[in-house]
């Protein structure tokens, strides 16, 4: 069992994706199943980008064992008022400068759901958001 911890910086797009890239690298070194690695990388990257765009950064905690990868992404941003809406493909509150970078297609949360075996959102307006996801090996 291996636990990894990352700070995800807020508003720094140049560093967004560092945590997911590092996890991907480590899983490769561990000889993890490639399909599981791909799923973890996609889901975690979307979550990381969301923390940068929507929440001013946060932290990522990743637990790896031979059976599964468990990822918790926690932020103290504005929270999500309507989770059901946020989960719909194409729904986004991303500002224009973010869209110009190629994000804000409203596909992030749906992608996370699609690529994980278990996914849960805990969020409270004014307090923050925690995504908990599991990918089986």
């Amino acid at each position: 069992m291996l636990t990894l911890r990352y700070e995800v910086p807020g508003d720094d797009f140049t560093r967004a994706g560092e945590a997911s890239s590092d996890v991907k690298r480590k899983l490769k070194q561990l000889g993890y199943n490639p399909e599981a690695i791909r799923k973890v990388a996609i889901a975690m990257y979307e979550g990381e980008i969301n923390m940068v765009i929507h929440a001013g950064g946060g932290e990522a905690i990743v637990d790896i064992d031979p059976r599964q990868v468990h990822v918790v992404l926690r932020d103290h941003g504005p929270g999500i008022p309507d989770v059901e809406k946020a989960m719909q493909e194409g729904w986004s509150t991303a500002p224009d400068n973010v869209r110009n970078l190629g994000f804000g297609a409203g596909m992030g949360l749906p992608n996370i759901k699609k690529y994980t075996d278990e996914f849960r959102i805990d969020t409270a307006v004014g307090e923050g958001t925690t995504l908990t996801m599991t990918v089986f090996a």
Partner: protein, 112 residues
Amino acid sequence: MTVRDLAQRLGAEILVEGELDRPVTAGYAGDLLSWVMARLPEGAAWLTVMGNLNAVAVCSLKDGACIVLTENASLDANAQARAGLEGIPVLRVEQGSYETAVRLAALLGEQP
């Protein structure tokens, strides 16, 4: 067909060498990164005008074979550096993504 072969066949400029000997087994065109994140096939040549750092991250995380910048789109300096570090080849062509995709499809359809 390797990325090197593809560059030659397309007459593309090679902006970042990376793993030029990787085989290209598929193609994909698109500029919305979240969309690409969901759909880019492994081993694909990805046609896009997005030459930023996040595009490099997406290609790397999805195990794309290379980025092909179309319509002479520019590659940011930090993206160029990152692509070099990650071994992601970046090519550039004058034609648009549509024309390039048509040519890529023909090349992928050829017998090796």
